[in-house]
Amino acid sequence: MTALLRTEGVSKAFGGVQALSDCSIEVEQGSIAGLIGPNGSGKTTLFNMITGYGRVDSGDVYLNDTKITGLAPDKVFALGIGRTFQLTRVFSRLTVMENMIVAAHHQERSGQAGRLRNPFARAGGAATRQRAMELLEFTGIAKLAGDRAETLSYGQRKLLELSYVLIADPEIILLDEPAGGVNPTLIGTITERIRELNRQGTTFLIVEHNMEFVMGLCDRVTVLDYGNAVVSGPPDVIRNDRRVLDAYLGTAEEDDDSSAA
């Protein structure tokens, strides 16, 4: 299995803070990969570097062995990397359907490359709307299609973000804390949807703090600590690895003499 997405030695500092330090990770095609680590370990920063929301200080990002380091977010999105945000970013004043149409925009464009498009054409052709509705039904928020995004609950907004990222048919989706602040039932729904999409061929890279969620869903988990990938492997191995405990809890020798594990 080839690595669909990988980073090689990515480093990034913000002022005096080294957010990422020689960070190298790999995501296999068709897998669901997890990215965990204590707060401040650089997970969201890594996402930002991959998706173009910021420039790396050094290192590279590769998609299918093509270097995509430093590309702008829209280019990254067009290449097939979708991404959601920790604090959901949806277009509040637009309706759910309109949110979907905006994201589908580049799809429509590439389908009609070279033709002079009528800028005053109605937003979202029939095909787009149909696909949008299918996706909204898949994520379970179809009945909210005509509501303004700002009236959605937090969990519903997460689903909307997932939906509109999906409409671009990405190869890989980066999810930033999809289960954060969401009730257990909805987490179950999200887990199911991710599995279903994965069965259909979409690769996932998920940042999460919810260990149950990550360990139950991911094929492989990478642990970041102080901006560096310290260990990577299947969930059971990671769960018991000393280095992971160190990363989250600090080294045992710093406490009293009795060893922890």
Binding site: T51, G52, Y53, A72, P73, D74, F77, A78, R89, V90, F91, S92, R93, L94, E98, I101, V102, A103, H105, H106, E108, R109, P119, F120, A121, R122, A123, G124, D147, E150, T151, Y164, A168
Partner: protein
């Protein structure tokens, strides 16, 4: 077609007919004020196409207006044109204004929203000062048109109909843009520009297009104004109150909505026009304008129509809730009765 749409279309047709018939009442003063009212309707709608939809508040619309005024002024002066043909020149004012909008927009739209306001103010003052100081713009004396021998009783009529035409064009444009992909992109930019850009929206191109369209319409209105006033003076062609007035009208009626600018202009301009005639003291007008603006943005930030709309929705929701409570009988211990239409109450968040 749904009955609601038919009613609305019929209502608009009636409104249009009424408006079109005003000059036939042969009241010169009313027609004269009417020209200004229509001018402001057109200008506010045009301003809203850019500022309302994208959320970038511009206080530089007067740049386009003034450019339109001076363009037509200079052309007619040098070509010494008289007669009705001058009306055909107004769009030229619009074109020059649109041409100015391109570099103006390319520069100004690179910065954040509230810095953008400052840039538009700065550019506005640059233009005003240039108009006052260049000799070819007539400096402080300005430019007056060649002598026009128009019939005093009906002189305002062609202005009225032209302004009406421009206003209608602006409204139709705004309406067309609103539901189009272009319009959706503009509105997405207003909500989260970075996210929109990340999803592939060509934000600079989209913003600039709206800016240029807005400039074209306002510039055309400027051309009209030159003949309406029969002079081009720096402080009136490039008038900071013009910017504030149309911003106020847009906010009053509902910033960023379709009908808001129209309502705002229709409500405010007759009053302002009358006030200007009755109270020849422009300084008091300044104070009133500023005060009105403060009142609107503090108490009616979303404008009259949306606020009224919300109050009505909330009132309706609470009526429904009370009706449902009465129908359900004594509550079985739970504090709140069921609301039949969840989304109605959900809107009042």
């Amino acid at each position: 077609m749904r009955p609601a749409v038919i009613w609305r279309a019929a209502g608009l047709a009636v409104l249009l007919a009424v408006v079109a018939l005003v000059p036939l009442g042969n009241n010169v003063v009313v027609t004269q004020v009417g020209v200004l009212v229509l001018l402001y309707v057109g200008a506010t709608v045009a301003w809203n196409i850019f500022s309302g939809f994208t959320g970038y508040i511009s206080l530089g619309a007067a740049v386009f207006f003034g450019v339109g005024v001076y363009t037509v002024a200079l052309i007619t002066k040098h070509l010494n044109l008289t007669g009705g043909v001058v009306f055909a020149l107004y769009p030229l004012g619009g074109l020059v204004a649109a041409a100015v909008a391109v570099p103006f927009g390319l520069i100004a739209l690179r910065v954040r929203r509230h810095t953008f306001v400052v840039v538009t103010i700065a550019v506005f003052f640059i233009f005003q000062l240039m108009a006052s100081n260049f000799s070819w713009t007539g400096g402080a004396i300005g430019i007056i048109p060649p002598y026009l021998n128009w019939n005093a009783a009906t002189v305002w009529n062609p202005f009225y109909y032209t302004a009406l035409l421009i206003a209608v064009v602006a409204i139709v444009l705004a309406w067309g843009i609103w539901g189009s992909r272009f319009g959706l992109q503009l509105r997405a930019i207003r909500d989260d520009e970075d996210r929109a850009r990340g999803l592939g929206v060509k934000t600079m191109r989209v913003k600039l297009t709206a800016f240029v369209i807005s400039g074209f319409i306002i510039g055309t209105l400027g051309g009209l104004y030159f003949y309406y006033q029969a002079d081009a003076l720096p402080q009136y062609a490039f008038n900071p109150f013009f910017d504030l007035t149309i911003a106020l009208m847009a906010f009053l009626g509902g910033f960023g909505t379709l009908t808001g600018p129209i309502v705002g202009a229709l409500l405010l301009e007759p009053y302002l026009g009358w006030a200007q005639q009755a109270v020849s003291n422009t300084y008091a007008a300044e104070v009133v304008l500023g005060a009105l603006f403060l009142i609107v943005i503090i108490f009616l930030p979303r404008g009259i129509l949306p606020t009224v709309g919300e109050k009505l929705t909330a009132a309706r929701a609470s009526r429904q809730r009370r009706a449902a409570e009465r129908a359900a009988g004594p509550p079985p211990g739970s504090p709140v009765g069921a609301t039949p239409a969840g989304s109605a109450a959900g809107g009042a968040s």
